[in-house]
């Protein structure tokens, strides 16, 4: 008997593992199969309040004492509604079946769904399908590189290392098959950065931690293959545990609609009660005198009983106030709007052949009400591509293009690129537009050469040359990759490296440098340096790093250059570029020897090794000579700043939630124009414990005026505290006062919590957009989830409600599609309620004249067909095609989006107005004909004030009035609208005459008693006079109201679309995605594929003393590789989390 808190997994032993019934990888989302469809679907449909209600009505109608309407008046619409819904459900389920099948049979040697806990699987540069324990890999020491962008949004490569015992298994299938270790570990949880477990194998215990785990959603990089033992599968993987529950999303209008339907239902009951009481009184006072004519038993029994029956009769008659076709019409509209999104060519991304897709068809109108957008960073705002964009070398900038008059030219796709064909080793994808730099290189300007030499030497990249000249750089951060690639194209090709040498091809000639030391990067140093000996024997230190850090360590003679470079850096930063300063230093042989000794000593120190090394690095990185600066563009996706600016103008608040580092997040904040220098203050909250700063900053915000612009940047740890119950209100208040909110280092679940927080406190519509698996939770939590499609990972898209390929399409989705959907839906609902009230309440008024006997005003057929035939199509056409303003306007005037956020177009008040309008219309519709018909006769003297003629008159007036009203509501008359509106009127008259025709009467005399009424009443001038008057009286007030509204509150505001202008401060943190620890990997040779020269050769190489450090670490690495490495990395990750003092220059 095992404790529940533990999980036992035995490798290659399915029988054993199956005893625990762990989750498997099979996915099932479909609901029905062929046989269960009808019963289950009908059952589900009747669970809906509306459908059940109509079923009850139908039963009531079968009781003859109550039945005031024939059964067909209810069953025809009900069957129609059920059928349409069933067809829709069936198609939906069909697509679910298909996608299930697709996911489950995704091939990876084995079908995805067949992967079970305890299996050992081999992976080759692929996504992991389950949480695995790394056993062995193609790389030495069981190393394995993974990219975790899907999980946490970080783009740098991470290293995982297998246990030495398991990495020895290699790819020997037989050995792996025999592997029968048992893992005892924690139960499934959602902590991405923590794992504790133990491996029992061959009577030994091996501790397991997160460094040995490959989580589902990560991608294998730079590693040919690896073997892993499945620990968690399916829903129990950490990724899925982080996904949050899938909730059925409903729009606020949906909820409102349900409330309103309940209200209407209550209203219906009230009317029923009023009329029933009326009936009781009437029966007592008047009706009892009629009994001789009516002789029904009940009447003689009791008036109260009669009232009771009348109540039910009226419930049946007035049931049309609860609009049965409402739900199905709304579904149709939403489906239509979804198709319009799918069909939109302007949301089609041709480079990836990805059209936009509305994956959920029930949320469209909510797109028009979004107030908060929560955006992921990596892959959503950014392309995750770094581009070497500009540089400043010795006080001269390169990278801008000027025309013949010396004016700066905007760089577009068409700007000619520099021709690098002189260089056979160039990277063809590299583009640079300023040819003066190449000229400088060709002129062999020494400083320019030194600049690129530095870039080619000072880094931690691993080259890979599969074929001659086909260089591939494996960079741990994309920034470095960009810099080295730039150097490569400018003729300083980094070709190969060993632990102690770096070989460059400088303008076609191989030059080998001795690598003496790597002064590695860390978050405090914000710089890295290398010390090399060039073929001439000179010692050189090359350094690159954050400008502020580097400028402090320059030789005083550099002051002037520093000033110029500083200006250039400002310029670069203003364009949202990431900058680095570069410097070099010629080292004196003696000084270096001295220093090397100290370094050797320090590196063997047991205590404070890190600090001692840091101090030593500091010592030698002094008095450097400035070379220049680089500017790298973290390529935003196209149109991101413009989109953000536009959405901001639409009063949508955009929050960036990222798992990435603070610096990176801030930089993107600046380049997206979300953070600006003219902001009053940027609060950075990166506390670790209960955050005092939180309270402090909130106070200051509240004290100052709200007009000022603030930004809030908060990290995951602070957020965890801020999300606690007592602080969350403050967090919401503060965050909402800030123009920009950026949360960095947040876990996927925290993203969801933030969204949840806003949902709870602000009652605002939230939208989450992301591309990776780490965004799934927030995508699911937000009212609307948007996935960026067309990329590797599918998790976000699968969880999303809408998906498209580019962030900028969000603007169109919200401002055009969302806005239209909202407008259409609101107008539709208003009209729908209006129409049904106008239609139904006529019976109420008639009740007062017909002794509350539940006599209908209209022909029963008219009641049956009114909602589904006579008036459904025009309003559907309006709901589908209407455009109050065209798309150009809605994009150009983002504050046209405002009414949606304020929920102005359909709310309870609006509902009251439109039902009131309906009530008034019904009043007019009833009493004008009543007045006229009291004494009316035909022009041939025959009577016309009979119930049937009265019914036809009112019905005709009603159809004309509601058609006129829909005409008034329709802003955009397409051919379809014309066809439907005029067609509906035509169909009304056609059906009217058909139903009142001789032929149909002679076949069914009792079903069509209205024979001849249409002919005999519609040929009377008085009837048309009545219809005209009714229409005028019903419609003209609305025209007047609309006109006054349009006059007093014009919707087109004159806010011009502001062009995006970037002005921002320098943000030069060292390569943002960089991590510490790679220097050690290189110098130790651990990550070298080609077996490095054996240790014995080291002492023989000329700078023997210099290499001893390297050697030392190699030795330690080989003896206890797993130990140091794992601790090394853990230390690094701890450090990342503990950074509390971020001295970032916000301004």
């Amino acid at each position: 008997c095992y404790k529940k808190e533990e999980r036992h997994v035995r490798a290659n032993d399915r029988d054993y593992n199956e005893r625990f019934s762990y989750a498997d990888n099979h996915i099932k989302t479909a609901k029905y199969n062929v046989f269960t469809f009808l019963p289950i679907n009908l059952f589900e449909q009747f669970q809906r309040f509306a459908n059940a209600y109509f079923l009850v009505l139908l039963i009531l109608q079968l009781i003859p004492e109550i039945s005031s309407l024939s059964w067909f008046t209810t069953i025809v619409p009900l069957v129609l509604v059920l059928a349409i819904t069933a067809v829709k459900d069936a198609t939906d389920d069909y697509f679910r079946h298909k996608s299930d099948q697709q996911v489950n049979t995704r091939l990876q040697n084995e079908k995805w769904m067949n992967v079970r806990v305890g299996d050992i699987i081999k992976l080759e540069n692929n996504q992991f399908v389950a949480d695995l324990l790394l056993l062995s890999s193609s790389e030495p020491y069981g190393l394995c590189y993974i990219e975790t962008a899907e999980l946490d949004g970080e783009t740098n490569l991470k290293v995982r290392q297998a246990l030495t015992v398991t990495s020895d298994l290699g790819d020997d299938v037989a050995k792996l098959a025999d592997f029968n270790g048992e893992v005892i570990c924690e139960p499934p949880n959602n902590k991405l950065d923590k794992f504790t477990g133990t491996l029992f194998w061959k009577d030994n215990k091996y501790p397991l931690d997160n460094e040995k785990m490959l989580l589902r959603g990560c991608v294998l990089r730079n590693t040919e293959w690896c073997f892993g033992l499945v620990i968690f599968a399916g829903l129990q993987t950490k990724l899925m545990q982080n996904c949050g529950r899938t909730k059925f999303k409903r729009t606020s209008i949906d909820k409102l609609m349900n409330t309103l339907v309940l209200w209407i239902f209550g209203f219906l009951i009230c009317m029923g009660i009023i009329l029933a009481i009326g009936n009781t009184i009437w029966e007592q006072k008047v009706g009892s005198n009629f009994w001789e004519y009516l002789q029904w038993k009940e009447l003689t029994i009791s008036a109260v009983f009669s009232g009771f029956l009348t109540f039910w009769s009226y419930v049946i008659i007035l049931n049309t106030v609860v609009p049965i076709s409402l739900y199905v019409s709304v579904e149709v509209l939403r489906l239509g709007h979804s198709y319009f999104i799918n069909w939109d060519r302007r949301m089609y991304y041709s480079r990836k052949a990805t059209p936009a897709e509305a994956r959920t068809t029930t949320l469209n109108e909510e797109l028009g009400q979004v107030e908060f957008i929560f955006s992921d960073k990596t892959g959503t705002l950014t392309q995750n591509i770094m581009v070497f964009n500009k540089c400043s070398i010795n006080g001269k900038t390169y990278g801008d293009v000027y025309d013949e008059f010396g004016h700066k030219v905007d760089i577009t796709e068409k700007t000619p690129c520099v021709d690098f064909s002189f260089n056979p080793l160039m990277d063809r994808k590299f583009r640079f537009h300023d040819s003066s730099l190449v000229e400088a290189i060709k002129l062999e300007e020494p400083l320019v050469q030194e600049f690129f030499r530095l870039l080619a030497l000072c880094h931690t990249i691993m080259p890979e040359e599969r074929n001659e000249g086909e260089l591939v750089y494996q960079a741990q951060s994309p920034d470095e990759g960009a810099l080295v690639t730039a150097a490569r194209n400018f003729g300083f090709v980094f070709r190969s490296r060993t632990p102690e040498t770096i070989t460059l091809y400088e303008m076609g000639q191989a030059v080998t440098y001795q690598l003496l030391a790597i002064l590695d990067f860390n978050n405090v140093r914000k710089r890295m340096s290398v010390i090399v000996r060039n073929p001439k024997g000179q010692l050189k230190l090359y350094s690159k790093g954050a400008d502020t850090i580097l400028f402090d360590r320059l030789d005083p003679s550099n002051e002037e250059l520093m000033f110029t470079t500083s200006e250039h850096l400002n310029e670069f930063a203003g364009e949202g570029l990431r900058t680095l300063a570069l410097a070099y230093k010629d080292l004196d042989e003696d000084v270096f020897d001295e220093w090397m000794k100290k370094l050797l000593f320090a590196s063997t120190a047991l205590e404070n090794r890190e600090e001692k090394l840091g101090a030593l690095y500091e010592e030698i990185e002094q008095g450097m000579m400035l070379l220049g600066a680089t500017a790298i563009e973290d390529k935003l996706q196209e149109g991101v700043p413009e989109t953000i600016a536009c959405l901001t103008l639409a009063n949508i608040k955009i929050w960036v939630l990222t798992g990435d580092k603070l610096e990176t997040a801030m930089n993107i904040g600046y380049s997206c124009n979300m953070l600006r220098d003219d902001m009053n203050e940027v609060f950075i909250i990166s506390g670790h414990t209960m955050v005092e700063t939180e309270l402090y900053s909130s106070d200051s915000v509240f004290e100052e005026t709200i007009i000022a612009e603030y930004a809030l940047i908060i990290n995951g740890h602070s957020l965890a505290h801020a999300l606690e119950a007592d602080l969350e209100q403050i967090l919401v208040d503060v965050a909402c006062l800030c123009k920009t909110v950026i949360c960095c280092r947040v876990t996927p679940l925290q993203k969801a919590l933030v969204v949840e927080l806003i949902k709870r406190h602000k009652r605002a519509v939230t939208l989450a957009i992301g591309d990776g698996a780490n965004d799934v939770s927030m995508i699911k939590t937000a009212h609307i989830g948007v996935g960026i499609s067309g990329q590797e990972g599918m998790q976000a898209v699968l969880a999303s409600d809408y998906s498209f390929a580019q962030f900028r399409y969000l603007q169109r989705l919200l401002l055009v599609h969302g806005r239209w959907s909202y407008h259409r839906m609101c107008n539709f609902l208003c009209y729908f309620f209006y129409k049904n009230f106008a239609f139904t309440l006529v019976h109420f008024w008639y009740g007062f004249l017909c002794g509350f006997s539940a006599q209908t005003v209209y022909d029963q057929w008219f009641i049956t067909l009114f909602n589904i035939v006579y008036t459904s199509l025009p309003v559907l056409a309006m709901g589908l095609f209407d455009q109050d303003v065209n798309e150009q306007y809605s994009l150009r005037y983002p504050n046209l989006y405002r009414p949606g956020q304020l929920n102005q177009l359909f709310n309870k008040r609006k509902f009251f107005t439109c039902t009131l309008q309906g009530v008034c219309t019904s009043f007019i519709l009833f009493f004008i004909p009543y007045g006229a018909f009291m004494s009316a006769v035909r022009d041939d003297g025959a009577h016309i004030s009979d119930q049937q003629a009265f019914a036809v008159t009112i019905a005709t007036s009603l159809v004309i009035v509601v058609s006129a009203q829909i005409g008034l509501d329709t802003n955009y008359w397409t051919a379809v609208n014309h066809f439907f509106i005029w067609g509906s009127l035509a169909v009304y008259f056609a059906i009217l005459f058909a139903m009142h025709s001789d032929g149909i009467f002679t076949i069914f005399p009792n079903q069509f008693p209205f024979i001849g009424t249409a002919r005999n009443s519609l040929n009377q001038k008085i009837v048309w006079l009545v219809i005209l008057l009714t229409t005028v009286v019903c419609i003209m007030p609305m025209v007047a109201v609309r006109f006054i509204k349009a006059d007093l509150y014009p919707t087109h505001t004159d806010k011009n679309f502001r062009r995006v202008r970037r002005t921002s401060s320098r943000r030069s943190a060292y390569a943002f995605a960089h991590q510490q620890g790679y220097g050690e990997l290189i110098t130790s040779g651990k990550n070298m594929k080609i077996p490095t020269a054996s240790t014995s050769t080291y002492p023989l190489s000329s700078p023997a003393r210099g290499n001893s450090v390297v050697k030392n670490s190699v030795v330690s690495g080989t003896t206890d590789a797993a130990e140091t490495n794992s601790t090394g990395f853990r230390r690094e990750s701890d450090q990342n989390q503990e950074v509390t003092v971020e001295d970032l220059e916000a301004r």
Partner: protein, 354 residues
């Protein structure tokens, strides 16, 4: 998502560039501009005004006279006699005198009016069988259950016509005598036929099939008359045998149920063929003699004779002209208000926009 286009490449999944799919259908976008709205209001007001005046003038020259004979004149005793609908065996005749102040020129129509009689009660209205009255043999002998309890008599014989509506048919017969100043008495001649809708008379109501050998009475063999009727359906009209059975004009008129509790139904049209009536109904004294059968006392109803002229839009009807005039006035007021708003606010708002 429809059929995917064949082939691959960046444009393979690109949506069609049709105006429909791109929501660029050519369309007319009307907007409520002052240039359209304000004139519409003024014109509409004028139209309503003119219509109202026209109707009013027409109505002014349309005369109507109502003679309530419920308990007037000698009818008081009959009124008391007919306290109960069932108590109809004893005939009762009475007369009421009335004065026509002005000559009714042209065609004159005689209606009987009932007040407070609810022909519009649901179960009353439903209590009829149209299939029976269209002369279907099966339905004749087997009236619809809607007719209950007026479907079969106590002996189980089917009633024709069945139902509460037919049962309660108005059965007073009215005769109007003209008393010119010379002391003579001239009966006002009335057409008692052609008072129903053509479709009712010829389509909706048919007698069961008869021929020369098979009389109407035989056709109705096996049915009985409604409870409150004095004579069977095939003997409703003594004078014109073609006006008997279900196609009897009075029955048809009665069967077209009134929408409101106060109603009038056509009784006859003045026959202007001869005598003093060629120009219409002359002014003077008249006597109305009634075969008083229809009881109204139980439901506190009133019975009246309505004599009326008819114009192009029906009889005397003050409601419509007044309603049109009121509407015209309201629209004018609205138009003025709108104009004011537009001049004061709208124009300024527009300037701001530009």
């Amino acid at each position: 998502m429809g059929k995917k286009q064949a082939g691959t490449g960046p444009l393979s999944r690109r949506p069609d560039n049709s105006a429909f799919k791109q929501q660029r259908l050519p369309a007319w976008s009307p907007s409520l501009t002052p240039q359209t709205v304000l004139p519409t209001f003024y014109i509409l007001s004028l139209v309503c005004l003119l219509l109202g005046i026209w109707l009013l003038i027409t109505v002014e020259y349309t005369y109507e006279l109502k003679v309530d004979y419920t308990d007037a004149g000698t009818c008081e005793q009959c009124f008391n006699l007919r306290k109960h609908a069932i108590d109809s065996s004893t005939p009762c005749k009475c007369t009421v005198s009335f004065h026509v102040p002005k000559t009714f020129p042209g065609d004159v129509f005689f209606y009987y009016g009932l007040r407070n009689f609810h022909q519009n009660l649901r179960r009353y209205m439903d209590s009829r069988d149209d299939a029976q009255m269209v002369g279907r043999k099966n339905n004749l002998k087997a009236p619809s259950s809607y007719c209950a309890p007026f479907d079969y008599d106590a002996n189980g014989k089917p009633i024709a016509p069945c139902g509460a509506v037919a049962n309660s048919m108005f059965n007073d017969s009215l005769t109007v005598m003209y008393n010119p100043t010379d002391g003579s008495k001239i009966q006002v001649p009335l057409y008692r036929k052609g008072i129903a809708w053509y479709t009712d008379k010829n389509v909706k109501f048919r007698n069961p099939p008869t021929n020369n050998t098979f009389s109407l009475q035989q056709a109705f063999e096996g049915t009985t008359r409604p409870l409150y009727w004095q004579r069977p359906v095939y003997e409703l009209d003594d004078i014109d045998s073609n006006n008997n059975g279900f196609i009897n004009d009075d029955l048809i008129v009665w069967m077209r149920e009134a929408a409101f509790p106060n109603f009038k139904k056509l009784y006859g049209v003045l026959n202007r063929a001869q005598g003093p009536f060629t120009e219409g109904l002359p002014a003077g004294n008249y006597t109305l003699s009634i075969n008083y059968n229809f009881p109204v006392e139980p439901f506190r109803g009133r019975k009246e004779l309505v004599i009326s002229m008819v114009t192009w839009f029906g009889g005397q009807n003050y409601f419509l002209p007044i309603a049109y005039l009121v509407t015209s006035g309201l629209i004018l007021v609205t138009a003025v208000v709108l104009t004011t708003v537009f001049v004061k606010v709208g124009k300024k708002g527009k300037n701001m926009e530009e």
